[in-house]
């Protein structure tokens, strides 16, 4: 979990981990996969996401991190690990991560609506159940 209120030397490592966790949960939620079967070093296309899905999923990530990202993010960084590293290096994601509860990889689907309501600013509960 991210120690959001303390500036530790491990913060960027934690941020990468938090983003990876979030993305794993996206895949779990939207592709009905088991988190155990997702390897962050495998290309996303292996999980059934095609090139256009990889463009549209950037929008979900933008909403969560509150930054504007290149739409070809997952084309150029096709694994969860690589894209998370790139995001932490190139964008200021700390504020968003401080506010958002990152989901641990082992988190079950049942726990997700709560997390999504917290991060889904401006939706007033309208967007619940969609995970992100």
């Amino acid at each position: 979990m991210v120690q959001s209120d303390v500036d530790t030397p491990n913060q960027s490592v934690d941020s990468v981990q938090a983003i990876q966790n979030w993305m794993v949960n996206q895949l779990v939620e939207q592709l009905s996969l088991d988190a155990k079967n997702i390897d962050v070093t495998e290309p996303l296309t292996r999980y059934g996401l095609d090139s256009i899905d990889a463009v549209t999923i950037v929008g979900e990530l933008e909403d969560w991190l509150e930054v504007e990202l290149p739409s070809t993010l997952f084309w150029d960084y096709p694994t969860i690990e690589k894209s998370a590293q790139y995001l932490v290096e190139e964008f200021d994601v700390s504020a968003a991560l401080d506010n958002a509860e990152s989901a641990a990889p082992s988190e079950t689907k049942a726990a997700k609506p709560e997390a999504s309501e917290k991060s889904g600013k401006g939706w007033g509960g309208f967007w619940k159940g969609l995970g992100g």
């Binding site: 939207q30 095609d50 090139s51 401006g122």
Partner: protein, 602 residues
Amino acid sequence: MHQLKQYQIAEALERDLGDPGHPESTMSFKRVMELDESEEFPEAEVDWLYNWKLQDYYVPENCGGKFSSFEEFVAFVRVMSRRDQTIAIAFTTMFWSFLTWMAGTDDQKKKLSQFIREEKGTMCLAYSERAHGSDLIGGDVTAKKVEGGYLLNGEKWPINRATRSGVTFVLAKTDEEEGARCLSLFMVDKRQLDPSTYYNLPKILTHGIRASDMSGIGFKDCFIPEEMRLQDEGSGLELALKGFQITRMLCAAFSHGAADTAMRTTLNFAINRVIYNKTVFDIPQPRQTLVDAFIDMLVCDCETIGAARGFHIIPEQFSVWAAVVKYFVTIKLEEVINSVYVVLGSRFYMRDEHDYGIFQKLLRDNSIISMFDGSSVVNLHALILQFRQIAKYRSRRKQKTMEGIQSRLDTIFSLEKSVPPFEPEKLGLFGRGADDVLQGLEIAWEQLQALKTEADVDADVLEKIISLTTIVLEELDAFDERIANSGFEHGHDQDPELFELAKKYCDLHAAAASVHTWIYNRTILDDFFSKGEWLVLGLYRRLRPWRSLPNLVPKAYSENVAQHLLKLHQENKMFSIVPIQLAQTETQEEKPHASAELQLQA
């Protein structure tokens, strides 16, 4: 000449081509039927268009040409298409040059501009392959890096103008690993190739556009120099998808031209044919069929013309708008053609009777438009993937967002305002959920309320427009809620129900585009347009499939539309919100063949 200057080229081309009903005109119905029967490429007609210098309007001004706006472009493509879609499509494969205008180096642009303008050059798009349908990444054509360039291998098929084009835009794999970056795009100039390393595939016999050069091209260790590659290796898919945003919107122009002729030739019959002591036009059922078809044509006009102008103002939103236009306009105008042929009766099926048998030809030709450059399913799927972002964007709008939308809508929809130059580098693979047309509908609703104090607005008409706009807003809210509460899947196994929802989104979009068009042009276009009865009917028809509506459309509205339809037919004007003057037979007889220069000055 039309007072809106962006329609003057279309009117000039109209006049110089002459009345298509007159057998001696260039691209007359008689002539294009002969071409269709012989299945021979329309060599002389394409050459006539080059001599007229129409190709200059395919090259942007900053690349040495005369292209200044998509609105103007759409208007003159309609003029060609109303005569013959085969020729219009053959000539307009040239608009693939936009890939170079978008992504080329200065040298590449200069070379292509010269090829088009001075050498009567044309091009084609070699994306599709026999075994892979819409799956571009699944293709088998490869470009292997060698010193100084690449070796191309594989076949592209079916390709319009594959054999005759001098430049072929080829999408090929530069990376064996399948992925979004595995493709690169090449502007292959055949003149620079060793002829023994490429070959053309035989002409394909097709259902419509039979005089087309529909064929294919194959490569065998064909060396192409490095400077033929557009942008970096791996950018092929990105360029392909952005290029489609341009061409999908422009495809609507072909459909508009065909629909105009379908309506015109049907009216030629319906106002003269007497049955049960009345003309067909005077019998209520066929009259209503024609009125409904005309209303749909006007709504499509609002969607197409708005989009053509929108390209110059919000190119970053066209991952949504181009998909809406390509689905909605092409399919709706197919429906228009199918509905009016019932009025024309069995003549629609004849290859020589009634206006040289043009109806059955346009019916065949037109049926490819909704299929090529991305089928209806491809476009609806593209929308489905963006719905979550679209709905989220709408729920987050703030005062500042609305002010931005209002200012943009004003420039997009006011036809008398000039548009800024097109900036293709601003096209985006996804629009982050922005769709000004529907997301600005509350602004339009407020503007409609404000019109209540205007003396020149009919109160009954306005009240009905407001009621129907309110329903569009209610349906949009319901749409957003449905999306927010539905499951979401990536990939191609989407629920068929979502495709129905996407069709509904397109109907709501066209309704909104019509309302905006009316608001901003009420005092600019003609009295028929200003009065707004057509808009009431148009909104009613867009909502009826989705909602049980009270019968609030007076018979008088339909009757007034019927009278206007007759008037446009009698005055020989285009069935459009911008009813440009069409070529008259008399003019043709007075001035049979002006030289190219004289035609341009006219």
